[in-house]
């Protein structure tokens, strides 16, 4: 029987992978991996906030991720601390603060593993709505900013001289990443979100001739990883989130057997 929960898992997983492709490409191009990590790690604090305020947990995660995106945006403009030091403080600080605050809530029983590594098999209709509506908004926003974002990725000052509102666009971009990270949480968990962003994009890079094909290909490779991971998880009874990441890694390694676009062009 092709169970409902499996269908939902596939839909949710592929939805998340399609969001992760374009965002992950930018994360790779702009070397924002640590950024993604920091946003994801703050998610647990959002879960705690959700319990505290009795609101939807994903909504809680979203609020905290947005706050952190703003903090990171402001942090980039100071020159007292190196960027990665600041990210390290925020990333691990937020994760630990999340764990500690959850421990304080004595009435709340939380399946920590589900948040850390994802619980794709428990995806419900609400989660699917979050993924498709939230993710849709994030992708639409990215599409809207596509051209200026590419220009900023190449050279910030050049973009600025050419009249692009670099600061505003950077902030909206961070906020969109925060949104996508918040909806991706459910599938691969906060520790593995960055993996789903980066690995398919890094795999796609060798076969893409334009930024657009790389983003789309990364999305499709992500879907393939989700399908492979779910299949493996069923066959060998392994945890689903990590299985998806393992299958994404396998695709990455296998991709080296295929000649790259550059090599084919000679």
């Amino acid at each position: 029987m092709f169970a409902d929960f499996l269908l939902r898992a596939l839909l949710g997983g592929c939805g998340v992978a399609l969001i992760a492709g374009p965002f992950g490409s930018f994360v790779v191009w702009r070397r924002l991996a640590y950024f993604g990590d920091t946003l994801a790690h703050s998610a647990l604090l959002g879960v705690a906030l959700g319990f505290l305020l009795h609101i939807n947990l994903t909504f809680g995660v979203l609020i905290i991720c947005q706050l952190l995106a703003l903090l990171l945006f402001l942090g980039q403009r100071q020159h007292q601390l190196a960027n990665d030091t600041l990210l390290g403080i925020l990333s691990h600080g937020a994760l630990s603060l999340g764990l500690v605050s959850l421990a304080f809530m004595e009435t709340v029983r939380v399946d920590l593993m589900a948040y850390l590594f994802g619980d794709i098999l428990a995806i419900g209709i609400t989660d699917l709505l979050w993924i498709f509506i939230g993710g849709g908004v994030a992708l639409a926003g990215l599409l809207w900013l596509w051209r200026p974002l590419l220009a900023i990725t190449i050279h910030e000052d050049l973009a600025r001289v050419e009249g692009i509102a670099v600061d505003r666009i950077n902030w909206i971009f961070l906020s969109l990443i925060a949104l996508s990270v918040a909806v991706m949480m459910k599938v691969v968990g906060l520790l593995l979100v960055t993996a789903l962003l980066i690995i398919p994009a890094a795999t796609a890079r060798r076969f893409a001739q334009t930024p657009e094909t790389m983003a789309a290909l990364a999305g499709l490779l992500g879907c393939l990883a989700v399908v492979g991971g779910l299949y493996g998880s069923f066959t060998w009874d392994t945890p689903a989130g990590p299985s998806i990441v393992v299958s994404a890694c396998l695709l990455f390694v296998l991709s080296f057997l295929v000649p790259s676009a550059a090599a084919r062009r000679g």
């Binding site: 790779v28 070397r31 000052d157 930024p211």
Partner: protein, 254 residues
């Protein structure tokens, strides 16, 4: 050449960063159609000065005035593009607004880099990259070109060709050029005015005036004397072997 209002004027500009004075009372003007070159040792604040001129950083004190609606073409010093970013030269140039091949090709021909139209940006040689960056700066048909070390990463022969190209672009397009140069020798032949910077303006004027100025001779020492032979040369004879001797010596000094 001199018009009533300059394209760009800085008056008594200071820049202080955490109690360190990076630039001190800089006043300069860039007139329409002229080439102004800023030279100076490492850490003299040359790039910082350009960034203030472009409006990328505000000065701590003083005034920067750009003519209303001044269109600036900027050529940055370095381009750090991640190797994973699939980007052809055509796409890179299209980003500044011209989407069509037929608009982009003449521009690349103008800078002598037509053959790299479909190459990946990351595979270009130093000289090709500088030419492509120059083409990008020209796309919006600027009245002022701001070039940050336009000949870096290029061999000596290529450096001379690039300076010639810049001066040719100025003649054909009539745009002004404000550029930063590390080089003392070759650039003198391609510039109208030179500004010698070491946090403050040490001296400025035509290449002849600057190269005989005591402050210039003091700043650059024996290096400065060598290029006297260069800038007095006829423009037709720029590729004279003298230049190469000078530059080789300069490289040895580094």
């Amino acid at each position: 050449m001199i018009t009533a209002k300059p394209l760009l004027e800085m008056t008594a500009v200071d820049l202080v960063r955490s109690t360190k004075q990076l630039l001190q009372s800089i006043s300069l003007r860039v007139e329409a159609g002229e080439i102004l070159t800023i030279i100076g040792p490492n850490g003299a604040g040359k790039t910082t000065l350009l960034r203030i001129a472009l409006g990328l950083i505000p000065p701590s004190a003083g005034k920067v005035e750009r003519r209303a609606n001044l269109c600036i073409g900027y050529m940055p010093q370095k381009l750090h593009i991640d190797p994973s970013f699939p980007l052809t030269v055509q796409r890179f140039l299209a980003m500044a607004g011209k989407d069509h091949r037929k608009d982009i090709l003449p521009l690349l021909q103008e800078v002598g880099a037509a053959r790299v139209l479909d190459s990946r940006l990351q595979t270009l040689s130093g000289g090709e990259l500088q030419r492509v960056l120059l083409a990008r700066a020209l796309i919006r048909e600027p009245e002022l070109l701001v070039l940050d070390e336009p000949v870096q990463g290029v061999d000596v022969q290529g450096q001379m060709e690039l300076y010639q190209l810049i001066s040719q672009i100025r003649t054909q397009r009539g745009c002004a050029v404000m550029m930063v140069s590390h080089d003392l020798h070759l650039v003198m032949a391609a510039t109208d005015r030179v500004l010698c910077l070491n946090r403050h303006i040490c001296c400025s004027g035509t290449p002849e005036v600057v190269t005989n100025h005591p402050a210039y001779l003091e700043m650059f020492g024996p290096q400065a004397f060598q290029q006297l032979a260069v800038y007095t040369h006829d423009p037709e004879h720029h590729q004279h072997h003298h230049n190469c001797v000078n530059c080789r010596e300069k490289h040895n000094v580094r």
